[in-house]
Amino acid sequence: MIKGKAATTVERPLARVPLVLNKRNFSWLTERISGVVENPAPRWWWVSFTITGTVAMFGMFCLGYQISTGVGTWGLNHPVGWAWDITNFVFWIGIGHAGTLISAILFLLHQKWRTSINRSAEAMTLFAVMCAAIFPGVHVGRAWMAWFMAPVPTYYGIWQNFRSPLMWDVFAVSTYFTVSVLFWYTGLIPDLATLRDRATSKIKKFLFGFFACGWRGSNRNWRHYEMAYLLLAGLATPLVLSVHSVVSFDFATSILPTWHTTIFPPYFVAGAIFGGFAMVLTLMLPARAMFKLHDIITPQHIDKMAKIILLTGSFVTYAYVMEFFTAWYSGNAYERFAFWNRVFGPYWWYWWVGMLFCNMLSPQLFWFRWCRRNVYVVYFVCMCVNAGMWFERFIIIVGGLHRDFLPSSWGLFIPTWVDIWTFIGTLGIFTSLFLLFIRFLPMIAMSEVKITLPEADPHYGSTNGQQPAAAGGKERM
């Protein structure tokens, strides 16, 4: 048990840069983070929401048009039967992965800096998975038949083929979404209680009170809560690795050149985290500037996320290079042709711009500290990665399909306006949901950031067991 002195834990031989700058205290954190929700919406929020909401409406219209008219409104035809739709699906699912990496994997690795960004990254995960789910749901053609994917005997007592990767995908994505919601909501409960206790109007007090479930910060509750949180993190970690692996099985279990490869599961997971972190920064950097959260999301946080982008970008680069090597080393004519075609075929510039420049070269800037600390450079690289990861999925999917085994079956994919606007529409849906999230829920996990303050430590400032320390972080040893 804890007896005697564990007193000098504050003095660390290698002092770290504090995660919350300017010695902010608990109540400052509560004020600043709750203030985002409690104060009236700033003008830029209304302007942004009007724009993204309008774009989302275009997307909704396209979906309605596609569902009522048929899947032929998309540019799909033989030989390219999967194109923008599945590209968008993989793109959005991938973006979600960074949220789970931050909330679960970094939690298990005791990376305390995650606390400033995990809430919004998890929200991003949910919205990205919602956008992803639209595409396969609509691509089934008769969207009202999507329930055929549920494990029930739908037709003459015939069950689904549980040995099919597409069926695995249904389970993986729906499990991923459900577990992400549970994890996110569990994390939200203490912060909802904070908003409940600060609420001024009756309706707010009721709503926050209802969703906070009567949370009162009791240590007997924290004990079970922390165990539940730890286990959810432990469950989400293999889950997130499995989801994009299963998505890659959709391709890897086929016999097409460039798809039929064993490198796909790790390659897809690394790419997902790579693209997802870029999207986290894309959303967080403006939010940080607009709500003046510079003391909570510090240059140190951005630096660390940039390093993860560099790391996962290097994984992805390695996978790209390895694919070419494997194609050459296999001696298989179709495989070799497919990769030659990737670089010099009709979609050549997708590879040169998307994969080579955006994904392989642009993250290399993050080797330099100056680039990691300059928000404009970081934002530029993130935008490159966002675009590059979309191009990568397009190259994998359409690149694998448009040159069939027989030249007589060759063809190209031309997107229709419905294809284009459905995708742009999901960008609008995604950003609109995120804007609503930062208005109505605490975008930073208050109860978790508070743990990173030095005075949160029960041994802070005490030299013998009985002497109480001053609150507010003024005394520093």
Partner: protein
């Protein structure tokens, strides 16, 4: 127990200036032999379980049970129809037991899904949540428990509870704003 004004007493409570002070106070109350008491803080305080004399949460056992039931559900759902009720031959591939690797992804996913539900609901049930009201909210200072304040609450139903002893203990351990909280 009732106050002179006729209210039922829920507890005696005190506020502490810091996490460190609360941590030390918890050890004092633990050593005094109280059982029905609690501390409240805006975030989980590291090491507070030991300071309160609490053991490791047994929520993990519930989650294990959830995971096992998920695995069994998936196995039943996959083997039942695909191997017994209506063996589905696709591409002329076999439907016997040795096709089990193709069942692993769904087994894995349902194991995770059921475990996560178990963790989520067990956390609520074991904490006695959700509840819409609690006597402790009758104390106006308590609204800062989710912001920046630290509280220790000794319930009146503790067998060792007497007003004098509880007050002495809270005073001795450095508690401030010591008060009686009404039940209603």
């Amino acid at each position: 127990m009732r106050t002179p004004s006729g209210h039922n007493v829920y507890a005696m409570a005190a506020e502490y200036p810091s996490a460190a002070a609360l941590y030390e106070a918890a050890k004092v109350v633990r050593d005094a032999g109280f059982k029905r008491w609690d501390v409240h803080s805006p975030y989980p305080i590291h090491g507070m379980d030991e300071a309160m004399g609490l053991k490791k949460s047994w929520l993990s056992a519930v989650v294990l049970a959830g995971g096992i039931s998920g695995l069994l559900t998936a196995a039943t759902m996959e083997f039942g129809p695909s191997s017994f009720l209506y063996p589905l031959t696709v591409h002329g591939k076999p439907t016997n037991f040795f096709t089990v690797p193709a069942f692993f992804p769904i087994m894995f996913e349902l194991t995770i899904l059921f475990s996560a539900f178990a963790a989520f609901f067990a956390m609520f049930i074991m904490n006695g949540l959700p509840r819409l009201h609690h006597p402790i909210f009758n104390w106006e200072r308590f609204s800062r428990a989710t912001n920046d304040a630290f509280f220790l609450v000794i319930e009146a139903r503790d067998p060792r509870f007497t007003e004098i002893e509880a007050r002495n203990l809270l005073e001795k351990s450095g508690g401030q704003h010591i008060t009686i909280i009404h039940e209603d």
